[in-house]
C-alpha cells in the first residue's frame, strides 16, 4: 500500500471580503517530497502557507480542499488543528526573533513542543530536546538550552525553530522564507541543516520563498505563483532550465549571476517591467499580460489554465534549442 501524500491541495481559495489573495491553487506533495512555492510579495504564497496551517489572519476565509493525514484541514476545527500543529504539520517562520517566547529558555521551548504532543515525561522531553540541538549542530547544547532567545544569535534561533518544527517527526514542514532574515553567511548553513534534517526523517518540505536559488538548491518540484494562481508547475530541473511561462523566464533573467558581471557594464539584467497588480485591480484574462511581451488579445480576454507543459500560458516560451 502506498502512503497518502503529505499534503494534497485542491482549488484553494483564500480571501478577504470579495478579494481573493489565493485564487484556486492545487498541488500535491508526496511523503518526503520537496516543493518550492516561488512568488513575489503579493503573489499569495504566504497566504497559501498560512491557510494550510489554519493560521489565516482574522477575517480571512479559506475554501477548497486540503487533504493531510486523512482529514480535510479546511474543515478542521480550531481545537483539533492546534493539536495537529507541531505534530503532523509544522512551520518555520521568516523571523526567528519574534517566533520564540522571549521569557522562556530555548531548551524548555523545544521540550514544550515534545511534551505537548507525545506522551513522555518532562524529563524525557528535555532529553529529546537536547538530542535535537545536537542534531542541529549546536555547540554546547546544555548551556545553550538554558539561554533565553535574546542571548543567542539569529542563526541559532532559526536552528531552534527548525528543531521545534522537527521535534515530533511531522509529515510536513512548511518553511516560509526561513533564511531571509539571517545574515548571508549563515543562510547556507541553516539551509543545509534543514535539508539534512528533513531528509533523515523523510519529512516533506514546502519551501516558500522569493529566492529562486534557494529553491534550486532544496527542492524537487517548483510552483511559480503570480497574482494568487500557480502559473507554472513542474520539476525544478525542467522549470528552471527551460521555463515555459514568461513570468518564470523573467524571474530567472533578473537573477544576477556570473555571466552578468561584465566589467564594461555592457550586459544588463533582464527585468520585468511594471509591478505586481494589487488584488482589488487584477487585470482580466491572464493576470500577467500587462507585463508580458508576448501578450495577445486572447491573453487579455481569457485566463489560461495550467497545461500539459506545466505552464498556464497561451503563448508558452519556446523550448530552448540545445
Amino acid at each position: 500500500m502506498t502512503l497518502a501524500p503529505a499534503i494534497e491541495v485542491h482549488d484553494l481559495v483564500v480571501g478577504y471580503d470579495a478579494l481573493n489573495a489565493v485564487r484556486g491553487v492545487s498541488f500535491t506533495l508526496p511523503r518526503g517530497g520537496r516543493m518550492g512555492l516561488v512568488g513575489e510579495s503579493g503573489s499569495g504564497k504566504s497566504m497559501t502557507a498560512l491557510a494550510l496551517m489554519g493560521l489565516s489572519p482574522t477575517g480571512w476565509h479559506a475554501a477548497g480542499q486540503v487533504l493531510h493525514d486523512g482529514v480535510d484541514l479546511i474543515t478542521e476545527t480550531d481545537t483539533s488543528f492546534s493539536k495537529r500543529r507541531g505534530r503532523t504539520i509544522s512551520m518555520v517562520f521568516q523571523d526567528p526573533m519574534s517566533s520564540l517566547n522571549p521569557v522562556r529558555r530555548v531548551g524548555d521551548q523545544i521540550a514544550d513542543v515534545i511534551h505537548r504532543h507525545s506522551k513522555v515525561s518532562r524529563r524525557e522531553a528535555m532529553k529529546q530536546a537536547l538530542d535535537l540541538m545536537v542534531q542541529m549542530n549546536m555547540p554546547r547544547p546544555e548551556q545553550l538550552a538554558r539561554s533565553y532567545p535574546h542571548q543567542i544569535s539569529g542563526g541559532q534561533k532559526q536552528r531552534i525553530m527548525i528543531a521545534m518544527a522537527l521535534a515530533c517527526y511531522p509529515q510536513l514542514i512548511i518553511a516560509d522564507e526561513p533564511t531571509t532574515a539571517l545574515d548571508v553567511t549563515v543562510q547556507k548553513q541553516v539551509l543545509r541543516l534543514l535539508n539534512a534534517a528533513a531528509r533523515d526523517r523523510n519529512t516533506a518540505l514546502l519551501m516558500i520563498t522569493h529566492d529562486l536559488p534557494v529553491i534550486a538548491a532544496m527542492c524537487d518540484t517548483v510552483a511559480v505563483m503570480y497574482a494568487g494562481r500557480i502559473v507554472e508547475h513542474g520539476p525544478v530541473q525542467e522549470v528552471f532550465r527551460s521555463p515555459r511561462h514568461h513570468y518564470t523566464r523573467g524571474l530567472l533573467d533578473s537573477q544576477p549571476t556570473m555571466d552578468n558581471i561584465a566589467l564594461d557594464g555592457s550586459s544588463r539584467l533582464g527585468s520585468i517591467p511594471g509591478m505586481v497588480p494589487p488584488l482589488h485591480n487584477l487585470p482580466t484574462g491572464c493576470a500577467f499580460h500587462p507585463r508580458c511581451a508576448a501578450a495577445s488579445e486572447k491573453c487579455r480576454a481569457e485566463m489560461p489554465e495550467l497545461g500539459a507543459n506545466g505552464a498556464a500560458c497561451w503563448h508558452p516560451v519556446k523550448e530552448k534549442a540545445e
Binding site: G42, T58, G59, A62, A63, L279
Partner: protein, 290 residues
C-alpha cells in the same frame, strides 16, 4: 466562484470590520448627542434645576411637565442631567485637553531632545504617576476649594504623565523611521522634524488618546463629585446626582438610575469612538493593495 459559498467561519479573535465600523458609528452618534445636549443646556432648560418645588417632589418619570420625574426636593431630573452633561463635558474635555497639550509637548521633547531631556521628563512622569489621582484631587480640594476648576486641575495632573508616555513612545517609533534620517541628512533641525514629520504621524494617537482620556475624565469627575470633593451646587454633576440619589434608594430607586445611565452611555460612546478612530486612523491597519 462557487468556492466562496463554502466559507468557513473566520477563525478570528478580533471583531470583523463591519462590527468595528458599527461601533464607531454608535460612538459618533452618542458623542454628538452628548455634545448637543450639553450645548443646548446653556440656552434652554425645561426647569431651573436648582429651584426646589416641594409640591412636585419625587414625581415618577413621565409625569406632566417632568419627563424624567423629580428628585426629593422637586427639582427636575432632566434639567439636572442636561446641566450635568455640560459639567461633564467641560471637566472631562478640559482635563483631557490640558493633559493633551502638556503631554504632547513633553512627550515629543522626551523623544527627540536627547537622553537628559528624556530621563528628566520620563522620571518626572513616573513620580506623578506614583501619586494616586484621588489624593491629588483631595489635596487640591482642601487647598483651593472644591469645584469644577479644581477637578480639571486634578484630572490634568492625573492624565498628563500617561499622555506623555503614550506620545513619547509613539514619537520614538516614528523617529526610528528612515524618513527621519533622510530629513536629518538634509540638515533639518529637530524642531522642524518634530512639527513636520513626527506630529502629523502621531496625530492619530493624540486624537484617540484624547477621546479615551475624555471618557476617563468624565468617570473620574463623577467619582470625585460622588465623594463630595468635586462639583458643588449651584453647579450640577452626574456624580453629585448619584450621591444625592443614593439617600433615596428604596424610596425612589430610578433617581439613581438616570445619572448612572447617563455616565455609562457617554463613557461607552466615547470609548467606542476612541477605539473606532484608532482602527480608522492607524495607517498600518488601513487597507492596501495586497
Amino acid at each position: 466562484m462557487s468556492a466562496i459559498a463554502t466559507n468557513k467561519p473566520a477563525k478570528s479573535r478580533r471583531r470583523p470590520r463591519w462590527l468595528s465600523n458599527t461601533a464607531l458609528l454608535l460612538g459618533i452618534v452618542i458623542s454628538v448627542a452628548f455634545l448637543a445636549i450639553a450645548l443646548l443646556s446653556a440656552f434652554y432648560l425645561p426647569h431651573n434645576p436648582n429651584v426646589p418645588r416641594i409640591p412636585d417632589r419625587l414625581l415618577p418619570a413621565g409625569s406632566p411637565g417632568y419627563v424624567l420625574g423629580t428628585d426629593v426636593l422637586g427639582r427636575d431630573i432632566l434639567s439636572q442631567l442636561m446641566v450635568g452633561a455640560r459639567t461633564s463635558l467641560l471637566v472631562g474635555a478640559g482635563g483631557a485637553l490640558i493633559s493633551l497639550i502638556i503631554g504632547t509637548v513633553a512627550g515629543l521633547s522626551a523623544a527627540a531632545f536627547g537622553r537628559i531631556a528624556d530621563e528628566t521628563i520620563s522620571r518626572g512622569a513616573d513620580i506623578l504617576l506614583s501619586i494616586p489621582g484621588i489624593v491629588t484631587a483631595l489635596v487640591l480640594a482642601a487647598t483651593i476649594g472644591s469645584g469644577a476648576l479644581t477637578t480639571v486641575l486634578a484630572l490634568s495632573a492625573f492624565f498628563t504623565p500617561s499622555f506623555t508616555r503614550v506620545i513619547r513612545s509613539a514619537a520614538m517609533s516614528v523617529l526610528q523611521e528612515d524618513f527621519i534620517t533622510a530629513a536629518r541628512l538634509y540638515g533639518r533641525p529637530t524642531w522642524f522634524i518634530l512639527l513636520r514629520h513626527i506630529l502629523p504621524n502621531v496625530a492619530g494617537v493624540i486624537i484617540v488618546q484624547f477621546t479615551l482620556f475624555f471618557a476617563a475624565g468624565i468617570l473620574t469627575e463623577a467619582g470625585l463629585s460622588y465623594l463630595g470633593v468635586g462639583v458643588t451646587r449651584p453647579s450640577i454633576s452626574w456624580g453629585m446626582m448619584l450621591n444625592e440619589a443614593q439617600q433615596q434608594v428604596g424610596i425612589s430607586s430610578p433617581l439613581a438610575m438616570w445619572p448612572g445611565l447617563a455616565i455609562v452611555t457617554v463613557v461607552l460612546g466615547l470609548n467606542l469612538l476612541g477605539d473606532g478612530l484608532r482602527d480608522v486612523l492607524d495607517p498600518r491597519l488601513s487597507r492596501r493593495g495586497a
